[in-house]
């Protein structure tokens, strides 16, 4: 079981969700984050003081999948989020030792989906 953590451009969320749905992935957890990466920040101005904003608004997706779903899911995320421009985002994969569905108490691979 793998946990996919993807950080994408906020306005690509709709596309990524659509592309994931096509790949049969509908379960996910989403949150708002700020990110610093290769993408350059921009200047803001407040009361005459200019300052650089370098933590940019991003959306983080967490998706737990069984191993056979890993590559299709990654592919779907990339398809939805890719524009070729800096700031497109990044995906990290980690290993899940155990999954529990709270409602039923089911564990393991059965609990993921």
């Amino acid at each position: 079981m793998k946990l996919i953590t993807a950080i994408i451009q906020p306005h690509k969320l709709t596309d990524v969700k659509a592309s994931l749905a096509k790949a049969g992935v509908t379960k996910m957890t989403v949150s708002n984050v700020l990110g610093a990466g290769q993408q350059k920040g921009y200047d803001e101005n407040y009361r005459g003081v200019v300052h650089e904003v370098n933590l940019l608004k991003k959306v983080e997706l967490q998706i737990a999948v069984n191993d056979e779903y890993l590559e299709p899911t990654i592919k779907a995320i990339v398809e939805g989020a890719h524009t070729g421009k800096i700031g497109d985002g990044k995906i990290f994969v980690t290993t899940i030792d155990e999954t529990i569905r709270i409602r039923t108490g089911e564990r393991g691979k059965a609990a993921i989906g």
């Binding site: 306005h11 709709t14 700020l34 803001e44 101005n45 407040y46 200019v50 370098n54 933590l55």
Partner: protein, 466 residues
Amino acid sequence: MANLMKYFSMEKLISSVLILTALWAFPLSLSAQETPAPAAETAAPATAEEEVPAITTETLAYTVDNLILFLAAVLVLFMQAGFAMVTAGLNAAKNTVNVLYKSVMDVSIGVLVFWLIGYGLMYPGADFAGGFFGFAGFGVPDGSGVVGDRATLHPQVDFLFQAAFAATAATIVAGAMAGRLKFYIYVIYSIVLTGFIYPISGMWKWGGGWLNTLGFHDFAGSILVHSVGGFAGLAGAIILGPRIGKFAPDGKPQVLAGHSLTMAALGAFILWIGWYGFNPGSNLHFTGDANIHAVMTIATNTTLAAVAGAVVTMIVTWTAYGKPELSMTLNGLLAGLVGITAGCDSVTNPEAMLIGGIAGILVVLGVKLLDKLKIDDPVGAFPVHGVNGIWGGIAVGIFGADKNLGAQLIGSLVVPLYAFAAMFVIFFVLHKLFNIRVSREEELKGLDVGEHKEEAYKGFQIFTID
């Protein structure tokens, strides 16, 4: 030409033009006006104790009329806060600074331009009675030496009241075009609208022009103010095109939700309150039995139309969508107010409720219509002010005390058409020249960062990130 001019140089150009205009306006008008008589000084408490001749009832009537008109002007100016809150609340947080900025400038630019040009265009004087166009000259008379009686308004308060109306028309347009317009384009069209478009059609009726001669009745501006703003906004919304994501690829309308219905509701309440300056104030005179009867009837009719609009919209959304919907109901309240504005002086209480109630239905249909036509008007400026402006104009022909349906139909069609056509041409030309819409990326990130390098809620995090 768009190739010749770069974006940045354009902004600089605008700034320069504004500065030059300002510099030119001052000496010009400085010479045009005389130093005011130090009236206030002689009127100060100390000197009031001197022996002065008895005050007459005519002077008192003049006093009361002008003071109430001043208070009405203050209420109408307060509406700008209402528009700001409604428009900000019904748009995304990322466009808040832009929306607020435009609200401040609607009235700031509006008042300056209306002082310089608009007032002279709108009230060109008796020579232009029955006409289409006239100009009384730049600036506003300072009113020194006015000897007041019941029939007199001091020009300074008359200007203030009328300028507040002009600013209203400009504000309505900004609402319809929120979320994707370049800010400097906004500055340009604002000057044109309050300086020329609005006062010219305003002159047709209130300046004694051809519509007045025709017997057209628009008491406080359903047509002259609201439909002008609503249709100018429609023209802008069409040329701009919808916000990204407003319509799905299959054409179905999507939700681009406002970020604070609290602000929107507060704004609607403030607009409502301001309308007590807008409608009753438009009686211009307040003294005596007939005026008091008129003003109090107007005030109550205004109230009844507003609440009927809100209640009917509640029922309509409840029936149509299964649940009563707030943002439409706020629009319904405002629609009732717009609808009664033309005829608030010449209908009965129940007729006012009926007019407001129908406005409450029309506003829902108007929103649906725009969705059908794939026109994106984030705050419902067209359904509220455009559709119900016309409804208000026609309603006078149906219910008004001296019905003249023909004149009403003519006025209620020609004026909005004129506003639409004039602004369509202006927006079209501006669009060809400069492309009036911000880039896709800027729109997605929000106009606050793009047009103002500033965010509305930066310190809202209880603790600071960045």
